[in-house]
């Protein structure tokens, strides 16, 4: 196997003396979907913060395509091919769905540096191939009919797909998805799953998926890491995870860990 695309090594994070992550490893090979599961408070979102650069770890190392990016800013990582979505929608409320993809793509093309061109009025024109690329992405994720709607008007499930589309518009090598189906109904969840599969098949993007819907994770992922209290308690392909006693204990609780009456 070649070098992994994204590799987190021995990550430790603490908030004011409380350990949130302790020595966590995560490996994401190219074109794979890696699941990250665990009960609430296990440290999944914290690990995402470290991977995307919004949090710095106390110790450990993050490598992206062979380069050490542990101290790199989110912007820098984005330009190196790392994108993410947020658990709580972080959409650009003043923009239409289409503009989300346009802005992401133009930043990828470094068009955010062309201030003079923008001032004289040339900045409105799409770059060569931009319209086609954006349309293709809208089609791939089935967003065509929402393209010109402002995002505050789209339903929650569509909003999550817009986040995914925006991430893909940066032409990433790996996308971090933070609970992409939370708050969605069965049909919307299915839409997200279809979109993920399509993006991987079409563009060869790798995904890291934090998700509470265990069935979905078992279905989608090639490889799963289970966190509990900031530690990796299991790691392996879906079948192995399904059978693991530790995972069942973490999720369902064992007899002594049952809630004590007040």
């Amino acid at each position: 196997m070649s070098d992994p695309l994204l590799h987190a090594h021995e990550i430790a994070v603490s908030f004011g003396g409380v350990g949130a992550l302790a020595g966590v490893d995560l490996t994401v090979p190219a074109r794979s979907i890696v699941g990250l599961v665990g009960p609430n408070g296990a440290g999944k979102t914290t690990l995402f913060g470290v991977l995307s650069g919004l949090l710095s770890p106390r110790s450990g190392r993050v490598e992206l395509a062979g380069a050490d990016v542990t101290r790199a800013s989110p912007q820098r990582r984005a330009r190196l091919g790392l994108a993410r979505t947020f658990q709580r929608l972080e959409l650009f409320d003043e923009l239409t769905v289409r503009d989300h993809l346009v802005v992401a793509r133009r930043i990828r093309e470094r068009r955010d540096r062309s201030l003079l061109r923008d001032l004289v009025g040339l900045g409105r024109r799409p770059s060569p191939g931009e319209d086609e690329a954006v349309d293709a992405l809208l089609d791939l994720l089935d967003l065509g009919k929402f393209a010109n709607q402002p995002v505050p008007l789209v339903p929650l499930g569509t909003g999550r797909i817009v986040e995914l589309a925006r991430a893909l518009a940066t032409e990433p090598r790996v996308v971090l998805l933070d609970e992409p189906t939370s708050g969605l109904d069965v049909h919307e969840t299915e839409r997200v799953a279809t979109a993920l599969r399509a993006a991987r098949a079409d563009r060869g993007v790798a995904f890291v998926l934090v998700e509470h819907d265990v069935e979905l994770v078992l279905q989608l992922c090639d490889d799963i890491t289970v966190l509990d209290f900031g530690r990796v308690i299991a790691h392996g392909p879906p079948d192995e995870i399904r059978a693991s006693a530790d995972v069942q204990a973490a999720y369902l609780g064992t007899a002594p860990a049952q809630k004590t009456p007040r």
Binding site: S52, G53, L54, S73, P74, Q75, R77, A78, R79, A83, R84, F86, R88, E90, L91, F92, D93, E94, L95, D99, V102, V103, A104, R106, I107, R108, R111, D112, S114, L115, R117, D118, L119, V120, G121, L122, G123, R124, N148, Q149, P150, P152, L153, R166, A167, A169, T170
Partner: protein, 660 residues
Amino acid sequence: MQGYVLAGLVLGSIYAISALGLVLTYSSSRVINFAHGATAYTVAVFFHWLNQVQGWSIPASAAISLLVFSPLLGLALWGILFRHLTHSPPDVRFLATVGLWVALPAGVQLAFPFSQGQILQPQGFATVPVAIYHLSALGVSVNANQVAVLIGGAVVVVGLSALLRATPVGLATRATVDSPRTAAISGINTTMVTAGSWMVGTALAGLAGILLAPILGLSNGEFTLLLVASFAAAVVGRLTSLPLTFLGAMAIGLIQGIAVDFLPSHGVLSTGFRPSVPFIVMLGCLLLYPGLRRERFEVDRRAGARAREVAPPPPLRGWRAAIGPLAVAVALFSVPLWLSTFWVGVVSQGAALAILFLTFTIVTGEGGMLSLCQATLAGIGALTTASLATHSPLFGWLVPNPFSSATGWPIGLAVLAGALVAVPIGLLVASLSLRLGDVYLALATLAFALLIEQLVFARPEFDNFGAGISLGRPIFLGINFNDTSTFFLLLAAIFCVLAVLTVNLRRATTGLVLASMRSSEQAAATIGVRIVRSKLLTFGVSSFIAGLGGALFAITIGRASPDSFEVLIGIVWLAIVASFGTRSVLAALIAGLLFAVVPQLFSEHLPTSWAMVPTLLFGLGAIRLAVNPRGSLFDIQHSVRVLRLRRARRSPTFEGQAPA
């Protein structure tokens, strides 16, 4: 020495009382009250009125002012304004309280006409003549007003600690401060707690105001200095900690008091040092406090309320989109045809201000940043231009004049130089505070603006006994711009060019990037937006426009005077621009014209006692943002578009476009 320490303790106590009120209201409702100084002013004027005009005794006046009037004022302001702001986007929260800061003193001066002039002997808690006690053991003399301050400070600190630590009300308050939602589900009436904290906070502001008046004077300007010192103390307490805020306030007061002992008794440094202490303290905190960084995310997360705004209807496309702007341009350029020379002169001032106001369109409208120093940057541009053009010294240093003209730099080049000088200064202020987030940028720019006002603008070479530096108008390309109409057309042309550039920027990639940053900095960063760089760029452009507009305004009125660019004028500017909308260049134009024309109309047709009405209206306009976050112009455009959509829907050719 002991005398200076005493003076410092007195100042520190006043700051502490005011700052504790500020922190109390901020922590219970997450609204930074930029009108805190204005409420202090209001209560102090009311107290003075009761005692001096109505002839009530001091205890009765004090009791009514602090126990009845202040709480009612706080309750009213909370009910009308602050209550609605807790869930507003940060820029609305900021602009609406700035509106109150503009409107409240104007309203007070209308209601109590005696406060329009200078109040020679503001009444404090001590009877006049003020008793003086000599404490021979300590070697100091202390007057009765100072004693009142020290007693007041002690009572407030002890009382507030006792209230918060030892009573059920205090427990409920602390719970609400920690987490309003959790407090609410555990059965605490958080609405009552928040309303109560605004009542107490306003009373504290009022107490500080009454104590301050006899010591430093009862004027809106002095109360702005009080406000900034309180802000600095609150920043020491990270806007939440009462004990740290208290310590910060005492430290600022002591430094200010003791420093007088070591400073020269005359000149700019003696008057300028006092306002620079809050700025330095604030800056030190912003740079050194590691904890402030984390709070930025807290602020950002609450910005989600934006999503509830109504989405704008689709804009016009094609040739139709050009009709409106063309009509405005035609109306603007034809002004000399249908107005007298005098009024063209007035409208010229408005056009120069419109250029200057584009700085707000860019920094706040596009960049989403909250700056209170744009007027100061404009002043820097104006004074630099004037110094160069008249060949007068800047800080005692005569800038070389490489040009053949005998008087100084050619005025066109001087204007450009003035605009360029504003850029690095703006960038410096912004770069120091930007990383910490919106609220701290607003506080730092305010402190900076006051610092420049007291330390630079007050220098005799700029102030020139209030007359400023005279400036001529340019002659170039063979055109003599001394003619009022010609000069107006020049200003109108400059405005149109800048407006087009601004709109270009907004519709281009830069505009998309800025829009993404305004909605979610985190998400923008993860698609590769370099946040700090983009913000600095925007701030730099806005500083340039501020400098340019300031210089042009100075040329229009014929002199560059620091009086034109005071902080308190700058906030009125911001309020009027905001009330029409910071996102629209047309709003900047309307705001500029109204700011010049309305006061002129009032002074010609109405008694002088009405002079504060325009300011009051401008402030109220900004307050209305709490209901209409995008400004009144957007509202009108929105209604027009909705009407158009409805009409279109009735016509048979309409193809079911989704209405907003």
